[in-house]
Structure formats: C-alpha cells, structure tokens
Subunit: 164 residues, 3 copies
C-alpha cells in the first residue's frame, strides 16, 4: 500500500459504512446491494438474530423483515478502523438504530458492528458483519413517525407564538 | 493538491461540520457565522423549510427561529466526504437533532445534510447545505430540558441508594 | 512528524476515543484503564461532577458510580482533532450518553468532551478530559433496559403479523 494514500482508504471505508446506513434508511435497495461482496456474511446471532450468507439472500431477508414502508434510522459512530493490507480492512462501529415495531412503538437499539472489508476493482465493499448489542429500549413518542410537513409546521408555529 | 496531505483536508472539513453543530448548540453566533461563505445557501425545502440565501440572512433566520434560549442538540454522523479539487469538496452527513418545541415537548429529527465546501484563504467553509429528512418524532421526557445539577445529583444519589 | 502519515495518528486517536466508549459500555475495565495516561485528569465540574486525578483513581470512581451491572451507552460524534506535535494532540467530541438511573428511568445526556492526548511508546492515550453539557433529559422507555431476545422476537413477530 502507498502509505501516504491511506487516508483515502479510511475515508472510503467511512463513506461505505455511511452509505450502508443511508441507502438502508431511504430504501434504495439496488444501491444498497452493491455495497456488499457477493459472499457477504451477516451474523446477528449474538443480538437475537441469525446468520445469513450471501449478499442477495441478506438483502432479500432485510427487505422482507423491514418492508419498503417501515421507517428506520441507522446511525454509526466511534469508528475503529484498521487497514490490514492494500485490499483488506477491519472495523468496529457503534450503532444507534430506531425501528418502528408498531403504531407509536419504536425500538431504540445500541450496539456494535464488527466488520471486515475488501477492495475489489478499486471499490471497498463490506465482506462480513457481526452485531452485538449493549441495550435496547422500546419508546413511545407522543406523535408517531413521519410527521407530515403540515403537522410539523403547525407545531413549530405554535411553539413560536408561545415565545418558546 | 498534494496527495499526501489529503487527510488534513478531510480532518479540517470534519472539524468544520463539528463546529457548525457545537457553535449552534452553544449559541456562539459570531463564531458560527464565520463557518459559512458569504454566499452560503441553505435549502431545507425538502424537509418542510425554505431556501435562504446569504450567510448573514441565514444566521439571522436561525437566531429568530431558535432564539438564544431554546436548547438544541445537533449531532452528525456517517460522513461521505469527497475532495473534488484543492479548494472544493462535497459531503453528506447523517443528522440527529433535538429541538424543544414547548415545555416537555421535544422534536427528535433524523435526516441528511447534502453539502458543498470551499477553501478560502486556507480555511474551509460551508458553501451550500440541503437537508432531507428520514423521520421526525415528538417525545415527552419525564423531566424536561436543562436539569439543574442539584436535581441530577439527587437522582443519581437516589439510584445509588437503591443499588441500581 | 512525517506529514504524510498524519492520517494514521488521526485514525488512531479516533479509535482510542471509540474504545473509551466501547470498553466503558461493555465493562471491560482492565482494557479501559490502559487507554489513559497514568496521570490522567478528568474534570466534569462544569457538568455537575468533580475533578479526579490519576487514571487508577478515575477508573475506581467510575466503577463505583456505575457498578458492573448498570447498562450505559456512550456515543461520540463531531470530532475536532488537531495534532499539536508528533506525540501530542487535542480533540473535542460531542457526546450522547444514556445512563440508567432506576427501573424505567434513563438519563439522556448531550454535551462535549474537551481532551488532550499523548503518544507514549507508539500508543496514543487520553491525558485530560473535561466535560461540558448542552442538555440532559430523563426519559421513560415503555419497556425498560436489556430486553431479552425472547421479548424482542415476540415484539417483532407481533409487528410483522399486523403487517407493520
């Protein structure tokens, strides 16, 4: 590896994981699929899930679980990245995710992704991902997900009139 | 661009966006203003807001909307940064923000900033920023914002006595 | 400092702070202790806490306060890192932490760590850390911390049957 270009690899892997979250939460499934190696392995068994092998199987599994309409939020933090060769890397990320379980019921999860990455044809992809959990809470927001712009504007206007 | 110094640009743009959040949440308006190019354009129309042109107009607009006293939290994650020339860059950031709408009513928002940056006289500044939303929730914390240190200490002491 | 290797230092300090959070939240105390210089100083006086001097004293203090069993979440964001010499650096991080105060009572805190780092024998360590707060909320999740996998699966299955 060209030592002085390592920042490009770190920046690219950071963006890769960011797109994992963004395409998942905005349901851009074809672009999401392209982020994984074909042989991708997801292991959420330590978090109450299962092992899924193959990127196509994984994407199908997540689409069936979440559906296209259920709002989700995945935000990752605290990267621990290591370049292990010119084309391989490892990473740990802290996760905060919000998943709608039902009307007014949200699951707020906290945990860590333990991952490996591979560079194929100049592009970094996620090769394996194992999830561990620190804690999970179910919360009930007063007003449930996906506020309409009208409702949000009304709330903001109300707060402004009250001088808040 | 000196290829080997690219990490300096990425680190500086990351700090720029961090200061955007920190100065906003701590109401350091003069320092906040200095983070934007004079011609800065903010576009929150996709999130129910409007287009504001000019850094001075934008800062005035935000100050009028939030006021100096309303507590806010802006935390950004998942950077997708790209250096497009020696003095320009693009970035996408995931946002989690908390805004007080009224007593006991908080708006928790999740979305993405889509931005461009310019380096002027050695300093990176935010040139444009467009906001999209994934979801927004209104929550009611049991005890509202800005706990006094006394109340917080009392709560912690109580929990400790119960062996929690 | 070898200018072209600066990305390694930034990546290492980022991972250092990530491990600070991860080892704290997973109660890996011996590994957590190794992240600090012996003379580490923690100053949370601006956030209602106190000044603790010495890494051993600090680790003992946190273990006594949190205990081994109380679930916590610490996630950091928005890094503002600066390499001030080959072996010293400064950093500001935004913090979101969740601490269980009692059954069904969680403290959600938001603030900033203001820190210095030192490289000793090739390893970066945290030398000083001062905490300031933006706001703190107490929340009551509907179902309290540490959901069992069985309960979580039941909730997800229920939501799925309802077509949510």
């Amino acid at each position: 590896m060209d030592e002085s270009a390592g920042w490009r690899e770190v920046t690219a892997i950071t963006a890769l994981k960011a797109r994992y979250c963004r395409y998942l939460d905005t349901k851009r499934w074809a672009e999401w699929r392209a982020l994984f190696t074909d042989g991708f392995v997801s292991d959420t068994s330590a978090a109450g899930g299962q092992v899924v092998t193959g990127a196509d199987a994984f994407v199908a599994y997540i689409r069936a679980t979440l559906g296209d309409g259920r709002p989700t939020v995945h935000q990752v933090h605290n990267p621990e990245l290591e370049l292990t060769s010119a084309t391989t890397a490892t990473g740990v990320w802290a996760l905060h995710d919000v998943v709608r379980l039902g009307p007014g019921f949200d699951l707020h999860g906290y945990g860590h992704y333990h991952e490996t990455y591979e560079k194929q044809g100049g592009t970094w992809r996620i090769a394996t991902s194992a999830l561990t959990r620190v804690r999970e809470d179910i919360r009930t927001p007063l007003v449930a997900v996906r506020l309409t712009p009208r409702l949000r504007d009304a709330g903001a206007a109300l707060a402004r009139r009250r001088g808040l």
